[in-house]
């Protein structure tokens, strides 16, 4: 555990990527394969299973320390991270111990997650009484299922590739396969030998697009580019190998059970095929807002109602494997031609249609219609490029439509988490409804650190009420909020929920009287959800 804690702390302490990779390599080269397997698994962002109820943890900490719930809450509000708060509150260990990472996870953590409350408590207390505060913090992080360190997947892949002495691309591919956090699988992962034996369900690393920040014209002749709409669905690979169909999302989750109709269609593909595309709710040849798809996610058994209610399709736009061969080095043009022969008219898979335009000016005009088409924007793919690994520049560009916007007033704030602990950085916004202000959304992002510090100072001077950690404030600061979608919701007073809301601009120029109204918001709602 201590060794893993050291790694965690060195990763946490630096922003230099080389230092991080060095620390990772150093760790992986020096620990038992059983520990390394778990470390790789956790750093890759994989989950241990269901999490433990944090309410229970708080109660047990109260019992262990004698501090009432309100005091624990005060501490949490100050620290901004529950795992850390609880770790700091507990008394120093009675009998300090340093169990190996794999033992802690396999012998304590996993059995505990499966136990009833009494057993959970027994195990947790035993662990608390043996670990010091930093180790406890890490233990809580493992429990909380949002174990995150400042290590991107790319860095982890780089480090493991170095440990194995192989190319990063190969490691990326190995990491994409199904593997378990066991010593045997870890040894395979970092084996220096070439892998011929490909796991059947293994997807290819997704080629990711960069947002286009320059003018379209800067891309050169339009003829060099293949254009498609950017769909607002779930990016996934549909794979058919050896008589089996796999559907893997970008988060590398197997989502076949949630979309049985797509799996059925996949069965019509020839063996040795891997397609890249988008899962979309589709109705009358038009995509439905993402919210319709959301109802399917996180369901292990799709009810029949949803099945008929939300018609889901797979819109294919690329092919990585054909007749069992990796075809990623073929050009975009060649792959598109191949894709069109596979996804022929006779089968029920859909092809992401090409957007035809003779000039960039024409594209500009088409973009204006993107909202009405129910798409997020445009994909611009270089015709002579391969399907590369990761997020290479200049291969795929994405051009998003301008977000919806509303000018709203700040009415409440609460302290943020992590780096923003103790800073009023999480805000609630309202729009006008006649004489009243109606809360419409919360937003956390979009401001610079300096702006947050400025708002924080302002909030502290304009508090009008306290509700737990939330402070209501004088309605005075106006922000332009941007968001990608809008839908009805019975969970909000306004009856509206926004998708991906964030602060676009602080409208210091705008008086309260001129903010948007609930009526304006409702108009956007109708516009966004109109089904022709």
């Amino acid at each position: 555990m201590k060794r893993f804690l050291d790694l965690y702390q060195s990763l946490d302490a630096t922003t230099r990527t080389n230092d991080k990779v060095d620390a990772l390599v150093d760790y992986f080269c020096h620990v038992d394969a059983r520990d390394a397997a778990w470390a790789a698994y956790l750093l890759a962002g994989k989950k241990l299973g269901k999490s433990i109820n944090s309410r229970r943890l708080r109660d047990w900490v109260s019992q262990e320390t004698g501090y009432d719930a309100w005091l624990v809450e005060e501490c949490y509000q100050s620290v901004g991270d529950l795992s850390e708060t609880l770790a700091l509150l507990l008394p120093p260990p009675f009998t300090p111990a340093d169990p190996p990472l794999h033992a802690l996870i396999e012998d304590q953590l996993l059995p505990m997650l499966r136990s009833d409350e009494a057993d959970q408590k027994r195990i947790i207390l035993a662990v608390w009484r043996s670990l010091d505060a930093p180790s406890r913090f890490l233990f809580h992080k493992l429990l909380s299922t949002n174990f995150r360190v400042g290590v991107s997947r790319t860095l982890l892949v780089r480090a493991l590739a170095r440990v194995a002495g192989i190319e990063s691309g190969v490691m990326e591919h190995r990491m994409s396969a199904k593997w378990k956090p066991t010593a045997a699988d870890y040894r395979k992962l970092v084996s220096s030998e070439d892998d011929r034996e490909i796991d059947l369900s293994r997807p290819y690393p997704f080629l990711l697009a960069h947002p286009l920040e320059s003018d379209l014209a800067a891309l050169g002749p339009i003829a060099d580019w293949q254009l498609e709409w950017k769909w607002d669905g779930i990016r996934a690979q549909l794979i058919r190998r050896a008589g089996h169909t796999y559907l893997v999302s970008r988060g590398e989750e197997h989502v076949a059970t949630a979309f049985p109709e797509i799996v059925q269609l996949g069965a019509t593909l020839p063996d040795g095929t891997a397609l890249d595309g988008e899962i979309l709710a589709f109705h009358n040849d038009r995509p439905l807002p993402f919210a319709h798809l959301q109802r399917r996610l996180n369901r292990k058994n799709v009810e029949l109602m949803l099945f008929t209610d939300v018609p889901v399709v797979f819109l294919a736009y690329d092919i990585m494997e054909h007749e069992g061969k990796d075809v990623r080095t073929k050009t975009q043009n060649e792959r598109r031609a191949l894709l069109e022969t596979i996804v022929c008219k006779s089968c029920d898979l859909k092809l992401s249609p090409l957007v035809e335009a003779k000039s960039w000016d024409e594209i500009e005009a088409l973009m204006a219609s993107a909202r009405d088409r129910g798409v997020e924007g445009l994909m611009i793919k270089r015709r002579d490029s391969a399907y590369e690994v990761g997020r290479p520049r200049g291969v795929w560009w994405k051009l998003k439509v301008a977000p919806y916007t509303l000018d709203c007033v700040l009415i409440a704030a609460q302290p943020g988490n992590g780096k923003r602990a103790g800073l009023f950085s999480d805000y609630t916004f309202a729009v006008r409804d006649g004489e009243n202000l109606v809360p419409i959304t919360k937003a956390y992002s979009g401001l610079t650190d300096d702006e947050i510090a400025e708002v924080d100072r302002w909030v502290r001077g304009h508090i009008t009420g306290r509700y737990g950690p939330v402070r209501s404030v004088t309605p005075q600061l106006i922000f332009e909020l941007g968001f990608e979608g809008i839908q009805e919701s019975d969970r909000h007073k306004s009856g509206i929920a926004l998708r991906f809301p964030r602060m676009l601009r602080w409208r210091k120029d705008k008086p309260l009287a001129e903010i948007d109204t609930l009526e304006n918001a409702r108009r956007l709602l109708l516009q966004h959800n109109a089904i022709p």
Partner: protein
């Protein structure tokens, strides 16, 4: 019975003795517990302070200020109130004020700690009827390590940086923390250099009898000579400044009680946080309140509402005292290295080119609408304020 100390527009005031304690503005007679700028303000006609801190207080309120020094434990009579100062162990010359009137004893702590600190006289427990305590770190998450362990960590980090040929930079406040850090360093590792703003204060420490390892000025010449090997002590405002560039490559650490919390550490964007505070942690705060035998406890400077509630629930007669210096939450302006924060009172320019001055207290009264705001939830103050 009339209270011995009352809240006044100028801070705490003793009506019986006609004097202030740590007044917020210039007043006629002001007892100053220590020279940090949220306790020692410029402009009073007469100051009383502990002898050990007289020279340091002059540095802050002016060379020609009228300062009457008192030896620790020496009793004087101010209009029938017996006044004495007792070591607080916070920084050099810091004191608790003991007031006795009509057989009743009140102790005002100023800021204090109970941990070992060779740079100042250790805290003395003074029994009293009423105890007014600071509460900067008044949450049970704050529990300090043994200073010797922190010292070992700092020296190990310095050695490691030396191997990597990185200069070690420790951010610490000019008065108190800087000298305490210096006292913890192992001079056999390498040279110890001081940012220009710290040289004078450190000399004052030595002149008043504090033994410290040898230090040198972090001048451009010394930077050239010693970078990659030296440890540099600099004020928090130096972080991210151009001044620091002459020592590149560097590893920057902050030494503060706030480093206990990971979010604070990350927000300050330092490579390393050493948990080192000149205030009491939670266990020492509670222990001290018990040991004084006080029946009534005033809580100020920090998590006043939390500590007050906690004490009340345990049957203590506790009350909160507001201070003008509620600060801006724990993050303090250390978090923003350059100039983005409100102007400063008492932040005398001290220094060296780019690092114009170390920002100090930021009184809440700068806010256009100061009263009557509910106090912000986390009013931890900045290390030096405190």
């Amino acid at each position: 019975m009339d209270p011995l100390l009352i809240e006044s527009p100028d801070g705490l005031y003793c009506p019986a003795g006609d004097f202030h304690v740590d007044a917020w503005r210039g007043v006629a007679r002001n007892i100053v517990t220590h020279a940090h700028s949220d306790h020692a303000r410029w402009g009073s006609k007469q100051y009383l302070t502990a002898r050990e801190g007289k020279a340091i207080l002059h540095e802050r309120v002016g060379a020609d200020a009228n300062i009457t020094p008192l030896a620790y434990g020496e009793v004087i009579d101010l209009n029938g109130v017996k006044v004495s100062l007792h070591p607080a162990g916070h920084v050099r010359g810091s004191a608790q004020a003991r007031l006795e009137h009509n057989g009743r004893v009140l102790v005002f702590t100023g800021d204090y700690k109970r941990q070992t600190d060779p740079t100042c006289t250790p805290f003395e427990l003074v029994r009293c009827h009423e105890f007014i305590t600071e509460s900067t770190f008044g949450l049970p998450i704050y529990r300090w390590q043994e200073p010797s362990l922190v010292a070992a960590d700092i020296n190990a980090w310095w050695r490691r940086n030396l191997e990597l040929e990185r200069t070690s930079v420790v951010l610490a406040y000019t008065l108190g923390k800087a000298q305490r850090v210096i006292s913890m360093l192992d001079p056999s590792v390498g040279p110890i250099l001081l940012h220009g703003s710290m040289v004078r204060m450190t000399d004052l420490y030595r002149q008043t009898g504090c033994e410290l390892p040898p230090t040198d000025h972090a001048s451009p010449e010394n930077a050239k000579l010693h970078k990659g090997r030296a440890i540099v002590i600099a004020p928090p405002s130096a972080h991210g400044s151009t001044w620091i560039r002459k020592f590149l490559p560097v590893s920057v650490a902050s030494a503060s009680g706030w480093m206990m919390v990971r979010g604070q550490r990350r927000r300050r964007a330092v490579d390393r946080g050493f948990i080192l505070s000149d205030h009491v942690d939670w266990p020492d705060l509670m222990r001290t309140i018990e040991e004084t035998g006080a029946e009534r406890v005033g809580v100020t400077h920090g998590y006043t509402s939390v500590v007050t509630r906690f004490l009340k629930e345990r049957g203590k007669d506790a009350y909160a005292i507001n201070t003008r210096f509620v600060g801006e939450g724990e993050e303090s302006d250390e978090a923003t290295p350059s100039g983005s924060l409100a102007p400063v009172i008492g932040g005398e320019a001290q220094g060296e080119g780019e690092v114009a001055h170390e920002r100090e207290a930021t009184p809440v009264s700068q806010d256009p609408t100061p009263t009557p705001q509910p106090s912000p939830p986390r009013t931890g103050k900045r290390e030096e304020d405190v």
